[in-house]
Amino acid sequence: MSRELPLWEVFVRAKNGLSHRHVGSVHAADARMAIEGARDVYTRRLEGVSLWVVPSDAITASDPGEAASLFEPAEDKVYRHPTFYVVPDNIKHI
């Protein structure tokens, strides 16, 4: 059997002013074909004005097993939020 066409992750910018957002993936031999495939699969109803395609194997993801050590330390640092600080009501514009 022939080699499988490589996998690409697809990102769509819904309109200018917004970031590209991950929507799914396509198989394609090269970047040009991946863009064309992504256009047909993910933007049939004006879902976007710009596409990114990235080879799936170029993405490094964080390990869900490390989610606790990566993200939980932020939980006890409420002083990073403005509402942590009590300011009298008569102080305006702060």
Partner: protein, 331 residues
């Protein structure tokens, strides 16, 4: 389009190897799912959950792809340019739905080619509905109205299914499916309000598609062995019989508005339960069609195999071209 997850023969025949899993991890997983949290691709999951999802999502994807065939059959014979453009867009959507779903299944560690090969080898299932022939133009409208209608009924709860990529694919699919159903109903409306011959054609299509549509919700709950586990894992959110009842309740008034008759002598309103009582589909026929005995089963798979084989040189040429360019850049 949609397929209920159907147990494949090969899984029933052989003893399934028991994977011993860490009870603490399993309990944590069950708790997360019970709390309606989404499971994402790299998260730990029980092997049985992964396998059930691969089977269900790939069957669902295959159904979308095979589902293009009965409708593609009528693109060249659509009665007007308007209808032709609509049908083309719908069939293209089905291809898109198949691709969203294949890519969701791929996040579980199965490759696209493995899934394609399973379909072409006749090892994978797809919805029984596509093993019935599309004999007249009225079938196009009726499929949109009933088959896509049943699909919506099945797919809406799947937008909250526990596996994130599957749920997200369903959100996209459901948005597009509504167009499929409405264009179908509109096409049947035109026929039902047309000449006596056109109205008869619409009635004939309803007569042929009604029961296969009810079968799309899968076997009765007491004959659906995987349902309980799938409900517990939030892969499924409603039982087959609940969805079938809902479908009948909303579809009967739609048929009445068209002046068409549902082909079920046992159909009557039950005031007490606030829904319709209806007859039992021919489940022997359902199981025969699932195992590949539908009138069109052979033709559907042959068409898919030819498409795959005839496209092989294109895939190979595209890869050879990409390889050549990569080599040139490296040099």
């Amino acid at each position: 389009m949609y397929v209920q997850e159907v147990k494949t023969a090969s899984l029933g025949d052989r003893p399934v190897p028991v994977v011993v899993e860490d009870p603490a991890r399993l309990a944590a997983f069950e708790a997360r799912v019970a709390a309606d949290e989404f499971v994402e691709p790299k998260d730990w999951m029980p092997e049985a959950y992964r396998k059930t999802l691969i089977r269900q999502i790939s069957q669902h994807a295959h159904s979308e792809i095979v589902g293009m065939l009965p409708e593609g059959n009528w693109i060249g014979r659509a009665p007007t340019l308007r209808r032709k453009a609509i049908l083309l867009a719908k069939v293209q959507d089905e291809a898109g739905h198949g691709l969203y779903l294949y890519c969701a299944a791929e996040t579980l560690g199965v490759s696209r080619d493995q899934m394609t090969q399973a379909l072409l080898a006749g090892k994978a299932k797809y919805s029984t509905i596509f093993n019935y022939p599309t004999l007249t133009w009225a079938d196009m409208g009726t499929i949109g109205w009933l088959v896509d209608g049943a699909a919506i009924m099945n797919q809406v709860p799947l937008q909250r299914t526990s596996y994130g990529p599957y749920a997200r694919a369903m959100v996209r699919v459901c948005k597009e499916e509504s167009f499929h159903q409405r264009q179908g109903y509109e096409a049947v409306m035109v026929l039902a309000a047309g000449t006596p011959e056109q109205k008869a054609m619409a009635q004939d299509a309803l007569d042929r598609w009604w029961w296969p549509s009810l079968m799309m919700f899968g076997p009765p709950d007491d004959q659906s062995p995987n349902s309980a586990q799938s409900m517990r894992w939030r892969i499924k959110r409603d039982t087959n019989d609940e969805l079938r009842q809902k479908f009948v309740d909303i579809t009967v008034p739609q048929a009445e508005a068209l002046g068409l008759k549902i082909p079920d002598p046992d159909l009557r309103w039950n005031e007490e339960k606030g829904g319709y009582d209806f007859g039992t589909p021919d489940w022997d026929e359902f199981f025969a069609v699932v195992s590949g005995e539908g009138p069109m089963a052979h033709e559907r798979l042959t068409a898919r195999r030819e498409a795959w084989d005839n496209g092989a040189w294109v895939r190979d040429a595209a890869m050879a071209h990409a390889d050549k360019r990569t080599a040139r850049v490296a040099a």
